[in-house]
């Protein structure tokens, strides 16, 4: 009897707690008395990026009285998991800003709303390059739109490199020439993480291949290029343990003449090494200049208030607002009109980025992103540390890719 009372009490308490946890408001499309619809937007921006987004949302909320957007900050690194979890109990937000390369992943997992109909009617839909639009699609349906973009390019030290290399052969030669006892010519991340993959994938694509043909001759050559430079000492053998940020530090300290990173590096470079004489160039090519597009996209969560959500998206992506937003973030836009603004076209550095972004794509790996990422950086690490030959490394990678795609 006494035990029964005791356990009863515990169960009541537990139920109370669980109820309290699950009864939180369901992503709030509840209307206020004035008829204003309130929608929720999740993002992971901090610092300046957060301020800029807040400014835009305030401006939007004040510009009309039908929809009110409320911002919810979810830390970077948490957002992916939180979004998936929200999908399991129907608590997805109306709007969410995720990494541009994660849209397909979330779309395939079922947490996003199909917005094809809205995008087809949208007057600016032809302003986004096909490659970039494609990484927002699953089975021809659109699940998000880019709000800002960036790309990895080559930063070079003008005091060490006179003319930036444009082909792989030139890269090898320039890197060897710029190498001496103190500095190495080239350093890109070959880290045991997504950062290694992101740095090397442009070389694979430049060879006319992609992840599904990593074991081809092109794939071999792309990896052999890095391996040769490591063997010759013109690329630091520490590359396998350098994140992109580590490589940036080596570049700004003058320890390496060339590195691969994105526009986020520019403010740091200007602040930490104001005297460094640097420039940017496209990543040296085999067949064509390409890079990997990064940035953020906006999507609707499953069960969102689509009408209100689209109202905000279309306002946010009006070319003028979009341009101002990209400008304020220090990143790059995704719409043709904004690309053509003199602000981007007349600046030698920004122009390089714009050209790269316009001719590049993202991963487009969907729900296989995690696996493919790991397959690529594992192959890079094995080949560069000498644990396997280039041939063995890419062949093993090809087998693993085939297994997943089966």
């Amino acid at each position: 009897m006494k035990h029964k009372v005791f356990f009863l009490l515990i169960s009541v308490m537990l139920m109370g707690i669980l109820a309290a946890c699950s009864s939180e408001e369901t992503s709030g499309n509840n209307s206020k008395e004035s008829g204003t619809q309130s929608i929720e937007l999740w993002h992971y921006f901090e610092g300046n990026l957060k301020d800029v987004l807040e400014d835009n949302v305030t401006k939007y909320n004040e510009s009309q009285d039908k929809v009110e957007v409320k911002l919810t900050f979810v830390p970077y690194g948490e957002l992916n998991n939180q979004l998936l979890i929200s999908g399991t109990n129907d608590a997805t937000p109306d709007l969410v800003i995720t990494g541009i390369n994660e849209v397909q992943l979330f779309a395939e997992s079922g947490v996003l709303e199909d917005m094809t109909a809205n995008v087809e009617e949208w007057e600016n839909n032809d302003q986004i390059t096909e490659d970039i639009m494609d990484i927002h699609k699953v089975d021809d349906n659109v699940y998000g739109l880019p709000i800002k973009t960036n790309a990895i390019v080559m930063f070079y030290n003008k005091d060490m490199v006179e003319e930036p290399p444009t082909t792989w052969e030139e890269l090898k030669k320039t890197a060897a020439d710029a190498t001496d006892g103190k500095q190495t010519g080239f350093l890109a991340s070959a880290h045991n993480s997504q950062q290694g993959t992101a740095s090397w994938i442009p070389f694979l694509i430049s060879a006319g291949e992609d992840i599904t043909t990593i074991g081809s001759d092109g794939g071999k050559e792309a990896l052999q290029l890095w391996k040769d430079m490591v063997d010759e000492g013109s690329m630091s053998s520490e590359a396998v343990n350098k994140t992109i940020m580590d490589a940036q530090v080596d570049f700004q300290n003058g320890n390496t003449a060339m590195t691969l990173t994105g526009p986020w590096f520019i403010p740091e470079l200007e602040a930490n090494a104001p005297d460094l004489n640097w420039g940017v160039a496209e990543i040296p090519k085999d067949e064509k200049h390409v890079s990997l597009v990064g940035g953020e996209s906006i999507s609707m969560g499953k069960g969102a208030n689509k009408e209100a959500a689209w109202d905000f998206i279309s306002w946010f992506l009006e070319p003028e607002n979009h341009f101002e937003y990209a400008k304020a973030t220090g990143d790059f836009p995704a719409l043709e009109d904004a690309f053509n603004e003199p602000y981007f076209q007349d600046d030698p550095v920004k122009q390089v980025f714009v050209n790269v972004i316009k001719s590049s794509s993202g991963y487009g790996w969907g729900e296989n992103q995690g696996d493919f990422n790991q397959i690529v950086y594992t192959a890079m690490q094995k080949a560069l540390t000498g644990e396997a030959t280039v041939e063995e490394a890419v062949t093993e990678a090809q087998q693993k890719v085939d297994q997943i795609l089966q």
């Binding site: 006494k2 343990n241 995690g370 950086y377 094995k382």
Partner: protein, 293 residues
Amino acid sequence: MKKRFENYSFVLPAIVFLMIFLLYPFAFNIYLSFRDINIGNLVQGDSPFIGLENYKTILSEPLFYKSLTQTVIFTFFTLVVSTSIGFLLASYFNKAFPGNKWMRSIMLLGWMTPIIIVGTIFKWMLDGKYGIVNNMLVNIGLMNSPINWLSDIDTALFAVTVTNIWLSIPFSMIILLSGLQGIPTYVYEPATIDGASRWQKFRYITLPLMTPTISILLILGLIYTFKVFDVIYIMTAGGPANSTQVVSYLAYELSFNLFRFGEGAALSNLALFIIAFFAILYVRKVQKESVVH
């Protein structure tokens, strides 16, 4: 009856806490490990029961054995070296000398520093090209050419182990020091009168009296070191070419990079069973000892 109920109500908060924050996640992790749950079916919620399939996948994966071996090596050397050095330092600080407290506090600074900072600094110090470690070793003539400590598959595990040893020493020292301070001086006095040497005093008095403290330290260290994550995450991310891959980091990668939640859960459970095995051994041992006394 009423009184009894009142008494129970005092332990209720603790029980509720245990159930929500420990038992539930623990049970849920076991549940997950028997299901095929990944990014493709997480949201739909139709994760099928697949029995021991996740465990089979893990156990047939060569990388699991590689990471397990590396975890064991990492744990073994961390424990042996940090306990030995910790003991030496504890004996040193057990003596009264000017500046003792002051120096002991400085020792603890290392322990109080967040691992993200320690890991990053060690990563810089061990850098093959610009690291201070290579610079010093080459300059004093111990090495002819620099070693890429963290990016060479033969030295990376050694380098992260050394870092972890550095991190573990202060904790070992504090625990052992408290043990040493618990030994009354009068037990040494008869030995001194009987003409026992320093070594004999250490071997036949200090060491036996310290055994319980050392056991506690080793078991705590084992549990803490076996599930190492942060040092690896910061310094090498398991690389190069998986040469510093350890069990807990592998489980993290499976769950949160590859979104194979079932396999990740299975691997964490395997690690848990291994640790639990040692913990039970230890608890048995302690119980036996207390019976004897």
